[in-house]
Amino acid sequence: MKKTSGAGERLINGIVKENPTFVLMLGMCPTLAVTTSAMNGFGMGATTLVVLALSNLIISLMRNIIPNKVRIPAFIVIIASFVTIVQLLLEAYLPSLNDALGVYIPLIVVNCIILGRAESYAYSNPAIPSLFDGIGMGLGFTIALTCIGAVRELLGTGEIFGARIMPQAYTPIGIFVLAPGAFFVLAMLCALQNFVKLRGAKAGKDTSRIGSGCSEDCMNCGEKGCGRRKFYDDSDDLIVEDLSAKEGK
């Protein structure tokens, strides 16, 4: 990774080059769960943006104080504090959004984008770039969630942000605002990403970053990425090897 990075470069990086949803495929649980409408997607994205930017800033400021061995619990406490603050603010000022997002607000704590950025960027970079990295990633996430939400809302109800778009004759495909629709939309997105990746590979471009997820492939996050991370790093057991050996059996 480049050593010096301007604020603008970090923003563009988060929105386009390393867009957490469209390029890296991170944070799939909230992406699927709350994008039933464009408004919900936007609300979730904005909430995540605030938490991500603030936790990146604080983690970066404290990076010299936090011992390496207990960094994960320290990150989790910082992130959880900001999530709690944001949740209380939402309850007070935007109760309708809070009700719509429900349990997914406190679950921002375990969103792998936030822990991932803390680990891969904020813990090893100065405060200002980290803040903008958080804002950029948050904006990328917000844009992605709003787009997915808009597509699902358009197909499922014929509206976007509650405004009628489709002609009256259009029969809404109700399944798209229900759970199965989320899987179908994400499957299409994944297929599109594969398509771009394959075409890029044929043209000889570097596509290694696409779909690289927490570490390799976020869909295999449980095997290699955030799920593998131990709460307290006392040893570096070769868990991944164990698991792949088991899979091979």
Partner: protein, 194 residues
């Protein structure tokens, strides 16, 4: 104290009607990541049942006897995530020392569950729905059973699909997600059950 009937309703509701993966989208990472083989999927399912049941008991006790008397319910998110993460690590260490056979079977999967959103999700849902401790444990167990059912079915389907001729762009994850979507439609059928 909850009646048996209420507990039964929670049991069926959380495992089938509002399935944790297919309708609430919690625990998607292991659901998609560890579902290549039925054996590993079943192992993962057992580990999840074990951890979620234990975690909902511990979180429920903590909420009832520490957070509520002190009126610091707003700290639930921080407390739950720390307790759950520490609990999983502790269980792993305990199993390794005390029950090597069980560790052999489940140990590999335990670290994968530490930051799984399903575990925290269940603890928070228990508080939100104001379940008592026993009802919370039943809800945790039922949720985890629902997860196991879903992941084993998906693994079975993936084993069958392995040699199918799928368009190049749809190979891998897109095909799995479409399968999960079809399973979600099937699970919608349970919604009239309660």
């Amino acid at each position: 104290m909850e009646s048996v009937k209420e507990l039964l309703v929670i049991l069926i509701g959380s495992s089938l009607v509002s399935n944790v993966v297919l309708s609430q989208f919690l625990g998607l990472c292991p659901f998609l990541g560890v579902s290549k083989k039925t054996n590993t999927a079943a192992g993962m399912g057992c580990a999840v049942i074990f951890v979620i049941t234990l975690a909902s008991a511990v979180a429920g006790l903590m909420y009832r006897f520490i957070l509520q008397p002190l009126h610091i319910e707003y700290l639930q998110t921080i407390c739950f995530i720390l307790v759950i993460a520490a609990l999983v690590q502790f269980v792993e260490m305990f199993l390794r020392k005390a029950m090597p056979a069980l560790y052999e079977a489940l140990g590999v999967y335990l670290p994968l569950i530490t930051t799984n959103c399903a575990v925290l999700g269940v603890a928070l849902t228990n508080v939100q729905k104001e379940y008592g401790i026993l009802a919370g444990i039943v809800n945790g167990f039922a949720t985890a059973v629902g997860f196991t059912i879903a992941i084993v079915i998906l693994a079975g389907l993936r084993e069958k699909m392995e040699h199918n001729d799928i368009p190049e762009s749809f190979r891998g994850m897109p095909a799995v997600l479409l399968t999960a979507g079809l399973m979600a439609i099937a699970f919608c059928g349970f919604s009239g059950l309660l």
